[in-house]
Amino acid sequence: MTAQTAVANPGGAAPAAKPVRARPKWGDLALRVLAGLVLLYLFLPIFVIVLFSFNNPSGKFNYSWQGFTLDNWADPFKYPQLTEALKLSLNVAAVSTAIALVLGTLVAIALVRQRFAGYRAVDTFMVLPLTAPEVVMGASLLVLFLDLGWHTGYTTIVLAHIAFEVSFIAMTVRARVRGFDWTLEDASLDLGAGPLRTFFKVTLPLIVPGIVAAAMLSFALSLDDFIVTYFVSGSTVTYPLYVNAAVKAAVPPQINVLATAILVVSLALLALGTLYRRKRIDGV
């Protein structure tokens, strides 16, 4: 290829000409189909859950299909404890994720940006919280809180969640920060921006996808946590705690209804976000 058609054209805009070789389309198609199948796999149980929110069981369990009804949807907040537990879990997840994001992102960046003394030790240390079995961590944390004289409840739940979220966040952000072009920071500093301004205006925006991904994972972790939460929650009831306990006695369809409602609302928000983006890009 001649210099003019080389892809990395330093002179100006990318060339408008397409590559000469025709790509076999089926490879591309196969990839998309595969991805679609994986997405389907992720949602298979969700379809069942949504379906069973319309189930009409006569008893207290929601395991076999009896018949279609809209009654459950008419009375989704029938079990106030369930709704309260859900709200609490969402709250805990949001708060703990926000705090853990700050802690974890800073660590991830620090570990990649430059080698410092003790770097290896910190590196290994960050993996440890992932390896600890939940039941013993939960029990040990409880003893810690008792020794400190702290009342178990909302605060201790948030604190415990942050403890296990930080490592997850650090590792996820790290995957993004690796291979970051640090010369960009140099350029910014050379141009006169202070280190903090560089951090917020150059570094952070480029790693935002990593932070968002980490936030999503941390949120999911917190929403789903059972055993550590169990020990440090005192008499506060989170969503997994309620469901795990309730399932032994009954599985009211309201659980499915609320779950479906959350999914639908989140989906709507996502769709709106996508549309808004399009509008912005189109409108520019």
Binding site: L44, I49, L106, M137, P195, L223
Partner: protein, 291 residues
């Protein structure tokens, strides 16, 4: 190669320490301190009343020996299940992460959101749904049975494959997201260039894409494997009497048998083994870094 330039600038020597300080202090209080207490328990002997025992710190390493020998089978099994689940996660997650990163265009965030959505429903509800889908006389099992793809027990639930399936399903987003984050960073012009340079897609993949996606592969593998080894809840609901994992053992020792020294020792054995495995793995992948 563009994108991996390191800075040659003299950087502040304090900055990294300041940045890691908050996290380290936090974990020192809420992780290390409880862990130290756990270590003390693991080296203690129990005596006195059954439900309120007194633990005497006695440098009793016997607990460790007992932990290691009695439960070797469960430990090996847990590592096996977790490794299988990790490989499955990688195989399933890669196409999806790739498509989201390069082929989704404006729908990128939508699909990413979709991916995480199932996890807003608690583990237990997802598992109940899976048990309905995979029930012994459901169409999935019947179909697989017709083709002869069922495990030896002649069913899907309460088998080791159900446990592995549960581990895979419940941890796969921890593979999809890091992979995506790593892939998305790759300059698409690199991909085009590599396709022009290499004769086949396969080589373009192994020589260009995979190496660049390595940070994501590493992070994803660790984030799936490590929690999966210590998992107990999938084996509880989806397993049988033959699929006990080390997490179940620790649960039982702690809650039912109430042998706190053994439970603690087992926990440390597990943690050390995982750490050793992780160090070997990262070395094999050609990197010295873990996080």
């Amino acid at each position: 190669m563009a994108g991996v330039a390191t800075s040659t600038r003299q950087r502040s020597r304090i900055a990294p320490y300041l940045m890691i300080l908050p996290a380290l202090v936090y974990l020192a209080i809420f992780f290390v301190w409880p862990l130290v207490a756990l270590a003390r328990t693991s080296l203690s002997t129990m005596s006195g009343s059954v439900f309120l025992p007194t633990l005497t710190f006695a440098w009793d390493f016997g607990n460790y020996a007992e932990a290691f020998t009695t439960y070797r089978e469960q430990i090996l099994r847990s590592f096996g299940y977790a490794a299988t689940a990790t490989v499955l996660c990688l195989l399933l997650a890669f196409p999806l992460a790739y498509v989201i990163a390069f082929k989704a265009g404006r729908f990128k965030n939508l699909i990413l959101g979709l991916v995480i959505l199932p996890f807003f429903v608690t583990f237990l509800i997802r598992t109940i749904a899976w048990k309905i889908i995979l029930s012994d006389d459901g169409w999935v099992v019947s179909a697989l049975g017709a083709v002869g793809l069922l495990p030896s027990e002649g069913r899907l639930l309460s088998t080791s494959w159900a446990v592995i399936g549960g581990l895979t399903y419940n941890w796969i987003i921890f593979m999809i997201l890091p992979l995506y984050v790593s892939l998305e960073k790759i300059d698409p012009r690199l991909l085009e260039a590599s396709r022009d340079l290499y004769s086949s897609n396969a080589r373009s993949f192994t020589k260009v894409i995979l190496p660049l996606a390595m940070p994501g592969v590493l992070a994803g593998s660790l984030l799936v494997f490590i929690p999966a080894v210590g998992d107990f809840i999938n084996a509880d609901y989806l397993g049988s009497t033959q699929t006990t994992m080390i997490g179940n053992v620790i649960q039982k020792q702690f809650l039912v048998v109430k042998d706190y020294p053994v439970a603690s020792a087992l926990s440390f054995v597990l943690m050390s083994l995982i750490l050793a495995g992780v160090l070997l793995y990262t070395r094999a992948l050609g990197t010295e870094d873990l996080v």
